[in-house]
Symmetry: C2
DNA sequence: TAGATTGTTAATCGATTAACAATC
DNA sequence: TAGATTGTTAATCGATTAACAATC
């Protein structure tokens, strides 16, 4: 239990969770590591090994109870509760995130969006009104915010991060194309990198 | 040159390219692997090893010519030319992509967006008008399309993929939360997975 | 019981890193 | 020349996989 979890395992946890959700929706009561592996295009021993970092969830000869494993994964990942999220930057990416239903469905609840551009302030995106970045301290006094999304231009990102650290945010999703200097956990997202990787693969016809 | 490129290297190529662009903008003429590594938070020997898969780009005792390495990377990745892209699905994600400037800047040029919902057809996103999915064959006859973005609901994704394969697309960016069955190169993008990985890290305070 | 599938070990495979001769 | 930094090898580290005893 106190073992270090390999990075690739962390990435796969979300995939397992998603898969278990599907299986549950499909009304499948028990599932073997082999079935999960097949759906995900990986090896069954990898599924079992990955899960073994967190406990014993299966029954030999039977497999895993879909509902129970789904719930266990939910707790392991931490999506058994609602996370409060703010978005910094109301540009294309920030705005799109706010109206993205997928996030709320997964219990990531965007409760505020901020921008430095006063001409954007007051405008509504769905039910949320864009606030000026100077209002952020006030906002953090009134709300518990665990996660912040950095969706500001590259040159503003580091400053924003330092502010958010001060305010007590617990983790960051970073859309700015730079490496953030911070002690907080960060997940970097860069869609152009995916396009570039695809470009490379097409060129080499490597899959 | 005919060696197999490790997957992690493919992911880092885009980071190197981005870094070289910055260095070039900053007017830095020569750069050492140590400098690149520092900016990216990796080891200098990794930078050199990664580059060595594609040739010899540096001068011992001196480093790399920023401009030349940038250009070499451009060719290696395949972003030395414009890629034509269509987006399938004009929902939240598809629409956001079309108005996203970052893609065009990186030479990924979205030339069409399609949806199955007739009530959306004809609406404009930026300069692009949403077309009905039934018009896609016609569109492919008139245009060269290399990349397609799958931004349709999960249950429609596989069918769309088969259609696109038929039409001769060369690669896919997949936003649908399923594993696509295809022989084409695919890059999967799932933002909720990034949020889940962050959730896990916060819970374990593991970075 | 016989068949199935787990959890875990050990072997294999692959990626990262340190180290250094080559050389600018 | 002396100092710096490459490209590459070999050692290390980490992740995946096969295999199998345990057991439902």
């Amino acid at each position: 239990m106190e073992k270090k979890i390999p990075k690739p395992v962390v990435k796969r946890l979300g995939l397992y969770y998603r898969c278990l959700n599907r299986l549950y929706e499909e009304g499948i009561e028990f599932v073997a590591s082999k079935d999960i592996a097949e759906r995900l295009g990986i090896k069954s021993s990898q599924v079992r090994k990955d899960l073994s970092y967190f406990g014993e969830f299966g029954k030999r000869g039977v497999g895993y109870n879909t509902y129970e494993l789904m719930n266990s994964l939910e707790k392991i990942i931490g999506v058994n509760k609602i996370w409060n999220v703010v978005v910094i930057g109301a540009g294309n990416i920030g705005s799109a995130l706010v109206s993205y239903e997928g996030l709320k469905k997964e219990k990531f609840n965007i409760i505020g969006i901020f921008d430095a551009d006063r001409s954007k302030v007051g405008k509504k995106i769905g039910k949320l009104q864009i606030k000026h970045i100077s209002e952020i301290e006030e906002f953090f006094k009134k709300n518990i915010v665990e996660i912040a999304v950095i969706a500001v231009p590259e040159n503003a990102a580091q400053l924003v991060v330092e502010k958010l650290e001060e305010l007590g945010v617990k983790g960051l999703i970073n859309f700015a194309p730079i490496k953030l200097r911070t002690k907080l956990p960060v997940e970097d997202v860069d869609i152009t990198l995916s396009f570039k990787a695809l470009s490379f693969k097409i060129e080499r016809s490597l899959k």
